[in-house]
Subunit: 224 residues, 2 copies
Amino acid sequence: MSEPDPSDAYGETRPFRVRSSTAEWAAAILRQRVTEGGLAPGSRLAEDELTAELEVSRNTLREAFSLLGHERLLEHRLNRGVYVRVLSPADVADIYRVRRMIEGAAVRRGERDPAALAALREVVAEADKAAAEDRWPDVGTADLRFHLVIASLNGSERVNTMMAQLLAELRLVFHTMDPHALHAPFLPLNRELLTLLDAGRGPDAEALLAAYLDQAERVLLATY
Amino acid sequence: MSEPDPSDAYGETRPFRVRSSTAEWAAAILRQRVTEGGLAPGSRLAEDELTAELEVSRNTLREAFSLLGHERLLEHRLNRGVYVRVLSPADVADIYRVRRMIEGAAVRRGERDPAALAALREVVAEADKAAAEDRWPDVGTADLRFHLVIASLNGSERVNTMMAQLLAELRLVFHTMDPHALHAPFLPLNRELLTLLDAGRGPDAEALLAAYLDQAERVLLATY
DNA sequence: TCTTATCAAATTGTTCAACAATCCTTACAT
DNA sequence: ATGTAAGGATTGTTGAACAATTTGATAAGA
C-alpha cells in the first residue's frame, strides 16, 4: 500500500492546507518542467496523464494550463489539447524588438538609481562567480536577472511584468542551446553596461545595449 | 487561455455552433459590459446571478473570470468574489508611464509607414465627424484607436497586445467621466501629431506626444 | 451603549463524474 | 492514390456535492 507520491519526486510536497490554490501548485511544477527543459517545446500535455500523475482533478489541471497559457509558455488549441509553446523565428524577433524598446527606454535617461545599481553589481558578481565555476546554466539565470533589473529602471510595475514574461518565453529557446556559447560572450558586455550606467552615460548605454541585443538576437536566430 | 477571440459573439445570443469556447464567449460579453460602462468599477460579479443570466456553468463562468482577470479588467479576492477593477491613481500613473514608452518609441524614428498613416488619417476623420455630430463616446473610441495605431508603428505583435490591454484598462476610468471634457482638448493635438508624422519629423512628434500624454494624465488624476 | 462571542446563512473554493462535441486513426470504397 | 465513413480517444461543458470562508444577525457580558 505504499504508493509513491509523485510530488515527492520533485521535492515539492503538497501541503494539506495551502493558502495558494492547488492550481498554482500544479502550474508551478509544470512551469519548472517547461523552463528547465524537462518538457520540450511542441510536446503535448495530455490531461489524463497529468491528472493521474499530479493527482489533481481535470478542472484544477485545466486552470493550471490556463495560468501557463497566459504566460505564453503553453499553447491551447481548441479541442486538440495543450502544447508546450514553440517559438518561431518571428517570435524571437518580436521579443527582441520589445526588449530593445523596454531596455532602451530604461537606460536612455541615464538616471542613477542607487538601489538598482547595487542590484546590478550583485547580479554581475554572481554571474562571474558562476562562470568561474563552470556553472553556465546559473550564468544564464543571472544574465536574465540582470536584464530584469535593467527593465525595472523604467519604474513601472507593468513593464516589470511584461519583461518577466518575455524572459520566461525566451527560456523556451535558451535551454535548447549550449548555455556556455549562449551566455559567455555577454558577460563582459554586462560589465561594460554597468560602468556606463554608473557614469550616468545614458545614450552610450543605450547604444551599447542596442548592439548587445542585436547580437543576441542574431545568435538565437542562427539556430533556426 | 490565450486564443485570439474573433469576438463574433456580441449579440449576446450564443450561436448553436461556436467556434470559440464557451468561456471566451462569456468573457466577451462581460468584457463589453465592463469596457462600455455597463458594469461600474468596484461592482461585484456574483456567480449565481451570472450563471443564471448567461446560462453557463459555474466552472465555465469562473474560467471567463480568469480570462478577464488576466486582462486586469476584473479583480479576484479570495473567498470574496470577483469585482470590476478600480484603478488607483498609481495605476493611472503607471499606465501613462508605459504609454509614454510605447508611443514615444513608435514615433521617434520618424518612419513613414504608408498603411499606418492612412489608418491614422481615417481615424482622425472619424473622430472629427463624431465630434461634429456630438457623438462624444464615439470620439473617445476613435481617440483610443488613434493611439493603438500609433503603438503599432513599433511593428511588434506583442506591443500591440500590450497597448490594447492598457487602453482597455483606461476605459475603466474613461467612462466615469464626461467624454466631451475628456476628449475634446485632444482632437487638435491628434491632427497636429499626424502632420508631424506625415513630415517624418520624429523627434518633434515625440515631444508633442510626451506633452500630450502628460496633460492627459493630469486630467485623469485630477478626478481622484 | 459598546464590545465580544457565537451561530446561521450565503457565497466562494475544489473536486468529481457524466455526457456532449470534436478530432484523429483506421478501414474501406472508388 | 484519393476520398469517405465509422469508432475510439481526447477535450469541452455541465451539474452536483461538499468544504472552507465571509458576512450579518443575535445574544451575552462589561
